[in-house]
Symmetry: C2
Subunit: 233 residues, 2 copies
């Protein structure tokens, strides 16, 4: 509750272990769209990139798989997840459920310090957008939502939402058509409504906000595959 958010990945875990660091970097790389869906994650290559043995790489990949951000196929390896349109809609539905519950808990109960933090995160997101760095903006948008869930104070909500947010990023990468960046005002308005304890408005704003994600997607779009090279840049 005290420090500013570092990474969406296990943001409430302060511990630092080598495999956790690798996990976080891969996680962020996927969220920032530097690793495309379906990208094969070769263990040996990653081991070289990160300068560790395959043991630690495998730990990180297994953690990512547990969050459904990567998929592991027996004897074939790990791939960045690529939810199909059916699953994508289910993910967005589930996310709305959790986010609404978060709103109910957070509305009117945010400390001024928390509001300040959330305000800052909105600014950071906008800053990334100004730089034209949509990947970072997307990640920071997710961090805003997650920080809000932390403020709501229900740990399982945070845990579940973390997975859903990261999968939402994958969905936007796969099916998004740009124009998902109306977020600044939406986040800002939401924060105001929450601060004022206006539950009806808060719920409506969050619902619209998530609705825009869905609206901004073309679920017929065909998906392109990526490769590991982007990690080296």
């Amino acid at each position: 509750m005290e420090t500013t958010a570092v990474s969406l990945a296990t943001s409430n875990i302060r511990e630092s272990t080598p495999s956790l660091d690798i996990y976080r970097q891969l996680f962020d790389s996927i969220l920032e769209q530097r690793l495309a869906p379906n990208t094969k994650l070769n263990e040996q290559d990653l081991a070289i990139v990160f300068g560790v043995s395959r043991t630690l790489i495998r730990q990180a990949l297994q953690r990512l798989a547990a969050e459904q951000v990567v998929v592991m196929q027996k004897n074939r390896g790990a791939f960045v997840a690529a939810p199909d349109s059916v699953l994508a809609k289910q993910i967005l539905e589930a996310r709305e459920l959790i986010e609404m519950a978060v709103i109910d808990l957070a509305c009117g109960s945010l400390t001024s310090q928390t509001v300040q933090q959330l305000q800052l995160m909105i600014d950071m997101e906008q800053q990334a957008l100004d730089f034209g760095d949509t990947g970072t903006a997307l990640r920071r948008s997710g961090e805003f939502h997650l920080r809000l869930a932390e403020a709501a104070g229900n740990q399982p909500y945070v845990h579940m939402l973390r997975g859903l947010i990261s999968q939402t990023s994958l969905i936007i990468t796969m099916y998004g058509q740009g124009g998902n960046s109306c977020a600044r005002d939406e986040h800002l308005n939401l924060l105001r409504a929450l601060q004022q304890g206006d539950l009806a408005s808060s719920r409506r704003l969050m619902s619209h906000h998530l609705g825009h994600v869905r609206t901004g997607c073309d679920f017929n779009r065909r998906v392109v595959n990526g490769n590991l090279a982007t990690l080296l840049s």
Copy 2:
């Protein structure tokens, strides 16, 4: 959707790998209360018990940790999770949220085959209860709920609920005071209401059902620790 449930753990994953099997056995052992909260899970001991190297044990433990069923402490090892009363209440709250959403999806849309399966699972639970095997009954109760979520057809709900159900089992182990076995009729009545498409009744029955879990708990109870020996019996 076609086969009968095997284990609450990764019930939708058909693959069989050594570490998955170990994971499932540990998972069920915890759910059936044969491994008490806070029990230290020594890697070497488990490796001997399961006749494999520590490598596979670690994989299983990490998977369990991802589902919050065990907790891993750096350089100290893995322990069966022991949610405190605050977290326990949050878990039950989150579970109610998801279960209600499942009800909304499943109500009136269950196939006769699914109803049959659920009916069977209720019977199996009762059978375990008749044998006095409350551990198995508890696990089967969880399987009933999870099977229902599968029938609802939203994959993230299933995934999230799996974690919440297993944690509920831990909560019952820690804070339950017996008397949690009114489940048979409750499951039965719920199934009838769902079958008939009676949403209001379905929601009310589920809410009461989960409420009983909470009612049956004394959150002031002090918790006893266990040890690995129970796995050998």
